[in-house]
C-alpha cells in the first residue's frame, strides 16, 4: 500500500468507516511509515479544529434591520398571544354570536319597556299638570342611560364577530 493511498484513507480510518479488509493494511503501513503517522496526527488535529467551530450569533438588531430593509412589520407577538389567536378560531365566532343574540335581545326588550314606561308616565304626568307646564324636565332618564351600555355591548359583539371572521378568512 502506497503512502498516497493510505493518506486518502486516513479520514475513513479515523472515523471507523474503512472497509474491514483495508483496516489491517492501513494499520500496518502506519506502524512502518513516520510520514503517514504525521499525516494521521495532522488529520486528527484538523478534524478536531473543524468540529470545534462554534455558532457565531448575529447582533441583536439583525432581525429589526432585516425586516425594515424588507418593509415587513417587525413585532412578533408573544407566544401566549399567538396561542390565544389560535384558540380564537374556535371560540371567538361562537362567543360573538352568543353575545350578539343575548345583548341585542336584551337591549331591544329594554328599549321597548322604556318606551312603554315613558308613554305611560308621560300620559299620567300630562293629565296631572296644568296645561302651561313644560314637561321636558320630567322625562325618564333611564332611556338615555341604558342606551349607551346596550350599544357598547353590541359594538363589542360586532367587534368579536369581525375578529373571528378575519381569523377564519386568514386561515
Amino acid at each position: 500500500m502506497t503512502c498516497e493511498h493510505v493518506q486518502e484513507l486516513l479520514a475513513d480510518y479515523l472515523e471507523g468507516r474503512l472497509e474491514p479488509e483495508l483496516q489491517p493494511q492501513v494499520r500496518l503501513h502506519l506502524t512502518q511509515c513516520p510520514d503517514c503517522r504525521e499525516e494521521l496526527e495532522a488529520e486528527k488535529a484538523l478534524c478536531q479544529w473543524l468540529g470545534a467551530r462554534k455558532v457565531i450569533p448575529v447582533s441583536p438588531q439583525f432581525s429589526r434591520n432585516l425586516m425594515s430593509r424588507l418593509g415587513v412589520a417587525v413585532p412578533k407577538p408573544p407566544r401566549w398571544f399567538e396561542s390565544l389567536l389560535e384558540l380564537s378560531n374556535y371560540w371567538a365566532p361562537t362567543l360573538a354570536a352568543l353575545l350578539v343574540v343575548v345583548f341585542a335581545g336584551r337591549t331591544l326588550l329594554g328599549w321597548i319597556d322604556q318606551i312603554r314606561l315613558f308613554g305611560h308616565q308621560a300620559v299620567l304626568a300630562v293629565d296631572n299638570l296644568p296645561s302651561s307646564t313644560n314637561i321636558s324636565h320630567i322625562l325618564p332618564g333611564s332611556i338615555s342611560s341604558s342606551f349607551p351600555l346596550g350599544s357598547l355591548l353590541i359594538l363589542v359583539a360586532i367587534g368579536a364577530v369581525t375578529f373571528g371572521i378575519i381569523r377564519l378568512l386568514k386561515n
Binding site: E41, A42, R53, N65, V72, K170
Partner: protein
C-alpha cells in the same frame, strides 16, 4: 418531496403570515451568519451578507417548489452570496481567492503562506488552521463547513453545490489533504 416542517412554514408564508418568515429567520440567522463568516475572506461583512441571504430567501420563498429541502435551498443561496462577495472583492479591491480550477489541478495552498515564515510559525495551532483554511477556494471551504460544522451528508452537500456526490467527496479529501500538508510544512517542530 417537501419536508413536513418546510411545507407548513411555506404554507404559512404564502398565506401572508409574517410570523412564518420571522420564524425562518430565527431558526437560521445564526447558522447562516456562521457559515458565511467562515467562508468569505472578510468576516466583518458577514452580517450584511447574511442579511442579503434572507432578502433573497424572502423574495424567492413563494416560488420555492420543494424540489429540495428548504435548508438545502437556503445553503445554496448562502453559497451564491459568498461567491458574489468574493467576485466583488476581486473586482473592486483585487483580493484574489485561490481559484477552483487552479486548486483542482494542483491541490496546494499558495506558497506565500506556507513558507514557514516567522509570523505563521508563532501562530497558535488553531489560528494557523484558520489562516490556512481561508486560503482554500471558496467551494472547498463551503464543503468543509457544511460537512463538519453543519454536519450535512455528502448527498446534501452535492445537492446544495449542484455537483456529483463523488466530486464533493474528492474535493473534501483534497481540501483536507492540502491543509494537512501546509500545516506540516509550517510546523516543522511537530516532526
Amino acid at each position: 418531496m417537501v419536508h413536513a416542517d418546510d411545507a407548513a412554514l411555506i404554507k404559512r408564508f404564502n398565506k401572508g403570515d409574517s410570523g412564518a418568515f420571522q420564524d425562518l429567520v430565527d431558526q437560521y440567522r445564526d447558522l447562516v451568519h456562521s457559515v458565511i463568516r467562515q467562508t468569505v475572506p472578510e468576516t466583518n461583512q458577514a452580517e450584511d451578507l447574511a442579511q442579503e441571504v434572507f432578502v433573497r430567501i424572502y423574495r424567492g420563498l413563494d416560488g420555492f417548489r420543494g424540489q429540495s429541502r428548504l435548508s438545502s435551498w437556503i445553503w445554496r443561496i448562502a453559497y451564491r452570496v459568498c461567491l458574489s462577495e468574493i467576485e466583488r472583492l476581486r473586482r473592486e479591491r483585487g483580493i484574489v481567492s485561490l481559484d477552483d480550477q487552479e486548486f483542482a489541478a494542483s491541490p496546494r495552498l499558495h506558497p506565500d503562506l506556507v513558507d514557514g515564515s516567522d509570523a505563521l510559525d508563532k501562530l497558535a495551532t488553531r489560528d494557523l488552521w484558520e489562516v490556512l483554511f481561508r486560503k482554500l477556494p471558496v467551494r472547498h471551504r463551503m464543503i468543509l463547513v457544511l460537512y463538519y460544522f453543519q454536519q450535512l451528508s455528502y448527498l446534501e452537500i452535492a445537492e446544495i453545490l449542484d455537483r456529483p456526490m463523488g466530486t464533493i467527496k474528492s474535493d473534501l479529501h483534497r481540501a483536507k489533504s492540502a491543509l494537512r500538508k501546509a500545516y506540516l510544512q509550517i510546523k516543522p517542530s511537530s516532526k
